[in-house]
Symmetry: C2
Subunit: 411 residues, 2 copies
């Protein structure tokens, strides 16, 4: 006999370009299941649950909901609140008060742990409910799933921006360091190299937080690349670290999950590069753009995010609980996938970093296996977007030839 | 009788998303004039002229040139070299050696001055040539012309990014400071407010370098806006200054034109905002993305840039010299324009800032006149791009209503 009652959905942690597609996928699916009477949204994630700040999603204008599907960032509002035991008990009280029998939590590692803890507590107190986690993180660091919704769009933003600033660096014949989000996992940073179709294309050097970097090798590699290509683009994760040195930190502030807020790695490294090559080195930090820059949305990502939202509801209504939906890759080109599931505890609070063998030996680039993994995910949306990353022609440059003696500028 | 000989074209200063459209506009036009035998490109601007690093543009594959038209940043390479008198003499020698009778220089204020000086020198030494400046600057600070090619695309990037990070700030119910290029002129920063269709839309506060800001008013306005909208987005020019304080500088380095390299205003202000509202304030700096992020290209900008390139050649071949092409606005919606011209000296090294009356009295926003000026320029390209800036729906948020006593979280 099916479990009758209301459903609750919440968004947690950093938003992404596609997290609302998961929300609407779940709402659309919930509409099709008569055992789900109402589907409530928690305003600002766990915070909205604790303070009963809930809204009735089936009352929303359906056309507006379809617009929300393509709206970046979290339309319900999000929160980084990490629930303490008393909070979890309160959450369960709220579930009981509103006859919540289905709970869907869209989030990353930390959120899936909260989801698991709520699930355990419901079991202990004999409140029958079905709890399914919906994966979301630009960092792509959840284990088991092939990839995480949110990642591919962040990768397309970082990869596209790297191509763009590279044209700027090439125009000046100078250097650029671009800083990509990722404290411990370098998936997004590595994906910028999908745009490097020829040797002289950027990014020439790519540093993931998985591999500490020898400062002497860094300087040497910058010189070699600059001399070879006449410009230099270096992509680094915010978690960049020189070997045997502390991670570069511009701020000791911690976020609400206790993570250090890192910033300013590109600015620091630009100085090192300038000294190495004797040319100006610009720096850019893509920061929060990774989470919201929807011009760079991935079509695969939008599809995946909607599908995991739908699949979570289907699983809960089929009686599954304490699981997170996962993506299983079926084909690379064009990318095809299936939704599976894994126990929450198998992903909660775990981090999947880029395997060492997908990073080259020198630690300054990714391998063909990495490109093969990432590229199919990064397909653009619509006809006026590049199929994967933008790639522009260069002039062939037929030299005219000098007619005068060489010129030496007066100092 | 028409002047027979070769033409030379060069790109100067900071690149833009559309500067190559001007290059190709000039090349396409030069092809149609038999008095122009060859059209050479200077590699890396003035640097390429001085060192005779010239390439033959008519030898390039025409299909590739059409691709270059839509390629961001300067395909010939650019340079910030500010020529000294000896350099100008050398330039003239190079012109004579290569029978350059037509010179087209795509650049901003500084470059138009160089262009004028070369023109004067040619006159003095009886080398007949026609010199036309082609306007280019994201800063939009050239006088006389309605707007500068490069501006509208930078404005679309800044305006779009502001809408995107605003969704992120709104999702958290927190604050964001976004830093926009512009040392002395706030055109690009002001244009971010084109995206504010409703009061609660971002950016709520906009600070242009034209108006020094009272720190107490800044804090007060942040509090008022945050309390009213539940989130806060502040857009600031990199040249932001508090009244009676030095401009915020994170670096005393100067660029090759002697301008200070400013950075880090958003980071500094985010601290002030956090203290004012007692909530986390994120910060982003769009930096070099303004010059190259072609996903945000303006269709008007691409058209204008191509047209001023073509028009420069037409004017030179009609015997005009020592002029810069200008844009005259004919209609707002859809935007229509005509190319005119003005003496180089009327624009050389001058800066047109945003008129005080286009900034509100409090100095924290732009007026309807500013919006009416900027909005028609910011039309997107292609059907999958928003017509002007992106604007996303919000959930209507029908409250479910609390059933439990209010919750107070344990510290």
């Amino acid at each position: 006999m099916s479990l009758e009652g209301n459903a609750l959905i919440a968004q947690s942690g950093g938003p992404t370009v596609v997290i609302n597609a998961s929300l609407i996928g779940a709402v659309d699916a919930a509409r099709e299941h008569s055992e789900i009477h109402e589907i409530f949204g928690a305003v600002h994630g766990m915070d909205g649950i604790l303070h009963e700040n809930l809204i009735a999603l089936l009352s929303e204008d359906p056309a507006l909901l379809q617009g929300i599907r393509y709206t970046p960032s979290a339309a319900l509002g999000t929160s980084r609140l990490k629930p303490k035991p008393a909070d979890l008990e309160r959450a369960l009280e709220v579930f009981k008060a509103h006859n919540i029998r289905y709970f869907f939590y869209i989030g990353g590692n930390d959120s899936q742990l909260s989801c698991h803890l709520v699930s355990e507590l419901a079991l202990q107190s004999d409140w029958e409910m079905k709890i399914i986690g919906i994966p979301k993180t630009i960092d792509n660091d959840l284990p088991i799933t092939d990839n995480c919704p949110g990642f591919a769009s962040a990768a397309r933003l970082a990869g596209s921006a790297t191509q763009f600033v590279a044209k700027d660096a090439e125009a000046f014949g100078e250097a650029e360091v671009i800083e990509i989000m990722g404290r411990h996992a370098g998936w997004v940073t590595g994906a910028t190299q999908v745009g490097r179709l020829e040797d002289r294309d950027a990014p020439h050097l790519v540093y993931l937080p998985e591999v500490p970097v020898d400062p002497n090798e860094f300087v040497e590699d910058c010189k070699i690349a600059y001399d070879k290509y006449g410009y230099l683009v270096v992509a680094v994760s915010e978690g960049f670290a020189f070997a045997e040195a502390d991670r570069v930190k511009s701020s000791e502030k911690l976020d609400e999950f206790g993570h250090a807020r890192l910033s300013g790695v590109a600015e620091a490294l630009a100085g090192v590069v300038e000294e190495a090559i004797g040319k100006r080195c610009r720096h850019d930090r893509l920061g929060n753009l990774h989470r919201c820059f929807s011009y760079a949305a991935s079509a695969v990502d939008l599809d995946e995010a909607y599908a995991v939202g739908q699949n979570a509801v289907a699983r809960a209504c089929a009686g599954e609980t304490n699981q997170m939906v996962t993506i299983t890759r079926l084909a690379d080109d064009p990318f095809q996938f299936r939704c599976d599931a894994t126990p929450l505890l198998s992903v909660a609070n775990l981090e999947r970093c880029v395997p060492r063998e997908w990073i080259n030996e020198r630690g300054n680039g990714v391998t063909a296996e990495f490109i093969q993994y990432a590229k199919p995910l990064m397909r653009g949306t619509g006809e006026c977007m590049p199929e994967v990353l933008p790639h522009y022609p260069r002039l062939q440059q037929f030299p005219v030839g000098a007619k005068l003696p060489p010129y030496v500028r007066a100092k």
